[in-house]
């Protein structure tokens, strides 16, 4: 009797290994082969040249612009020379450890809030403490720190402050607007609808212009708010409308039974919302909310237009230095890289969160 081997056969040799992988994913059809060749050709044309410009022929330690131009590559010496200006703006040079520390604290609390371990009520206290610490560090005037006016703030800390304070205030406002739009009270509902649609219909720039030229007219005589705060208010009012629409989507996705069940327990409106509805609704909208936070972070760059010294404006100022003309590409690439690091890590985080929260069937 012939023995039959019971060990399972491996897949046929034409289906394993690098060659099979290439055949399946690069050359599976004539069209695919053509595409692969085309893309490879494009990459071959672009990547080595770019790499050469970025690193090989780049000048990292030239002492002046002329030396840098002769190298023929990217002039990273320009960034080395200007990095303090780009990162911290015109903050007093000797005190720049303060914005640095403030930046680290802000990034620290943002990272903490991303970890589920910290999703406890005391997170609010951490935020309060961190924001206070940032305010003390930036303004000074206490604990022997010299006072620094906020028109000298600038660069990365300012961008982060605009974004974090923006989120911290826009989120509760957006929540209230979303609840208002779903309210049974016609007057409240109408007010919220008008606000949300009006804000979403106009660009952020028009709100920033409004805050810079119209707000001073709105306020009583002799009473003024400084430019930075006005821009911050505009950003908060703008983001709140978008957050409200996203949260409304979450509220609509909660089945009616949940509302009725909560009501039948005899909970008051705010108890229903706080204990039953919002925890479920917010969980659904975490991914789109993170998307809004990313676009808010990117939108802070618009304050350039009303002359606030954020990261983008700092780069523009560095570029305008007559002694270092013509290196704007390097400066913009540098801050683009900073923005990218922040936004990309937040979006990656949002994707992982989406996977964790997903309970549906997936192939």
């Amino acid at each position: 009797m012939a023995r039959i081997s019971t060990a399972p056969d491996g897949p046929p040799s034409s289906h394993v290994g690098a060659w099979a992988w290439m055949r399946a994913s690069l050359f599976s059809s004539p069209l695919n082969t053509l595409l692969t060749v085309l893309v490879l050709w494009l990459l071959l044309m672009a990547v080595p040249a770019l790499f050469e410009w970025l690193f090989i022929r780049a000048d990292f330690n030239a002492s002046n612009a002329q030396e840098c131009r002769e190298s023929g590559g990217a002039c990273w010496a320009f960034i080395v020379e200007k990095h303090r200006l780009i990162l911290f703006g015109v903050y007093p040079y000797d005190e720049q450890w303060r914005p640095l520390l403030a930046t680290i604290i802000l990034i620290g609390v943002i990272v903490c809030s991303c970890m589920r371990r910290f999703w406890k009520p005391y997170l609010g206290l951490i935020w309060l403490a961190a924001l206070t610490a940032v305010a003390i560090l930036m303004w000074g005037g206490v604990f022997g720190l010299s006072h620094v006016e906020n028109d000298r703030w600038g660069g990365l800390p300012l961008t982060l402050i605009l974004a974090t304070f923006g989120i911290a205030f826009a989120f509760p406002l957006g929540l209230l607007l979303a609840l208002g739009r779903r309210s049974d009270m016609p007057a409240v509902k109408a007010l919220c609808v008008v606000y949300i649609e009006l804000i979403r219909g106009v660009p952020l720039i028009s709100l920033l212009f409004m805050s810079s030229v119209m707000l001073p007219l709105f306020l009583p005589e002799g009473f003024s708010i400084d430019k930075l705060l006005r821009a911050q208010i505009a950003i908060i009012l703008f983001a709140a409308a978008y957050i409200a629409e996203t949260v409304r989507g979450g509220l609509q996705s909660i089945p009616r039974g949940q509302y009725e069940g909560a009501e039948s327990l005899g909970l008051s409106y705010w108890q229903q919302m706080r204990k039953i509805i919002l925890p479920q609704a917010l969980k659904v909208v975490i991914p789109p909310l993170v998307g809004i936070f990313i676009s808010l972070f990117k939108d802070t760059s618009l304050v350039v237009i009303i002359g606030i010294f954020d990261l983008t404006q700092a780069a523009k100022t560095a570029v305008a230095d007559a002694a270092w003309r013509g290196f704007s590409t390097e400066a913009y690439l540098f801050i683009a890289f900073i923005y990218f690091i922040f936004c990309f890590s937040i979006s990656r985080y949002s994707q992982s969160l989406e996977r964790q929260l997903q309970t549906g069937y997936q192939r």
Partner: protein, 394 residues
């Protein structure tokens, strides 16, 4: 316990805090009162401030002479024209860049979205990298970057880059060839004939397929006809149409179509940024169609291109249209960033107006009204389209 009362008799409405109706009425009156007071407070402050600063109000300034030049315009404009016309030029410039941007970003974004789902590893990775990089860098920064590339890095007109015949890239912007001459009517006529022929062929092909089951390759025929007929028309008309190439004369180019550095940078930025978002919308729309639809369509023997066109796309469009609408709205609103690189869109023109006349409130109101009108028209159109393609249920 409540007393038993005959149900026919409606309970007498008493003013009580425990009555939800009364409570909500009081809340609403309170909220409206607060908002009303706030508005009154702001308006009275504003009127007072305007009076103190001696700023006139009203839209009368629209009829006064503007006195400033605008770099580019779709309609005729000179500094002697009124502010009203200047603002209209700004609105048209905004619309021009938005419409071109929306069309190109949709095409490029769809291509990228499909490429990201491609089975070709290299293609999907390259598309993925493009999307991730472009949507994570602020648009304003991208605009500055492209503008700097065009105005600083690009050579002057004399050394202009010439990637293909008739196209010149220099620090004066992009030069493209244009069509000149009166043969345009013949070409348009040919195009019209081609469209009619394609519609008729489509009808006939569908009938034949229903009768015999043989599929008529309409796509190939249509592509052929749409080229052949206009070319035939052009030849019939005696080929009167000449391609006008830009030419270097002295220090600048003459002839051809010009895209100014501002317009080119704004358009490039808007297209590159928005197409990354459009790609994500298209990808998620296609992925939202369940795997079973692909498999079932493949099981009845449809080739992949027909599966995509007949089964997947009609279902994916339902998911795609609402987020696509908001991308279009975003692009239109983002075109306001033009002010940062000096393209004369509505925000930039109104900003100049506002600096000259000091009438900030009217200026901002005009900007907001213009954007609200455009936003509402786009969303009305897209809602109509969305309804048309929505699932029709029994």
């Amino acid at each position: 316990m409540a007393k038993n009362s005959p149900p026919s008799k409606a309970p007498r409405r008493r003013l009580s805090w425990n009555d939800p109706g009364t409570r909500s009425l009081i809340y609403q009156v309170l909220i409206l009162g607060i908002v009303g007071f706030g508005v009154w407070f702001l308006v009275s402050n504003t009127l007072h401030n305007l009076a103190v600063r001696n700023i006139s109000t009203g839209f009368g300034f629209l009829n006064r002479e503007a006195g400033f030049a605008i770099g580019e315009s779709v309609i005729g404009y000179s500094p002697a024209d009124t502010y009203g016309r200047a603002i209209w030029v700004g609105i048209l410039n905004t619309l021009r860049v938005s419409i071109v941007g929306i069309i190109v970003a949709t095409l490029l974004g769809t291509l990228l979205g499909v490429a990201r789902l491609s089975k070709n590893w290299l293609v999907s990775r390259v598309a993925g990298a493009y999307v991730e990089v472009m949507r994570n860098i602020p648009l304003l920064l991208q605009l500055f970057f492209w503008y700097a590339i065009i105005t600083e890095i690009m050579p002057g007109p004399r050394q202009a880059l010439n990637p293909m015949p008739g196209v010149f890239i220099s620090n004066r912007g992009l030069k493209l060839p244009t069509l000149q001459g009166d043969g345009l009517d013949w070409i348009l006529g040919g195009l019209a004939v081609a469209i009619v022929a394609i519609v008729l062929l489509g009808h006939w092909g569908k009938k034949r397929q229903e009768a015999t089951g043989r599929i008529f390759p309409l796509g190939r025929w249509a592509a052929g006809l749409i080229i052949i007929f206009p070319v035939a028309g052009w030849l019939l008309g005696g080929a009167p149409l000449a391609l006008e190439l830009p030419e270097l004369k002295g220090f600048n180019f003459t002839g051809g179509l010009t895209l100014t550095p501002e317009f080119a940078a704004l358009l490039a930025g808007l297209i590159i940024y928005t197409s990354a978002f459009v790609a994500e919308v298209v990808r998620s729309g296609i992925q939202a169609v369940s795997q079973g639809q692909w498999e079932a369509a493949a099981a009845i023997g449809l080739p992949r291109s027909r599966v995509l066109r007949l089964v997947i796309l009609p279902q994916a469009l339902r998911v795609i249209v609402p987020p696509m609408t908001s991308q279009y709205l975003n692009l239109t609103k983002n075109s306001s960033l033009a002010v940062a690189i000096g393209y004369p869109d509505i925000v930039s023109v109104v900003n100049t107006t506002l600096n000259q006349t000091g009438q900030a409130i009217e200026g901002i109101l005009i900007i907001m009204a213009a954007y609200l009108t455009v936003s509402l028209s786009i969303s009305v159109f897209m809602n109509w389209y969305n309804k048309r393609i929505a699932l029709v249920e029994r």
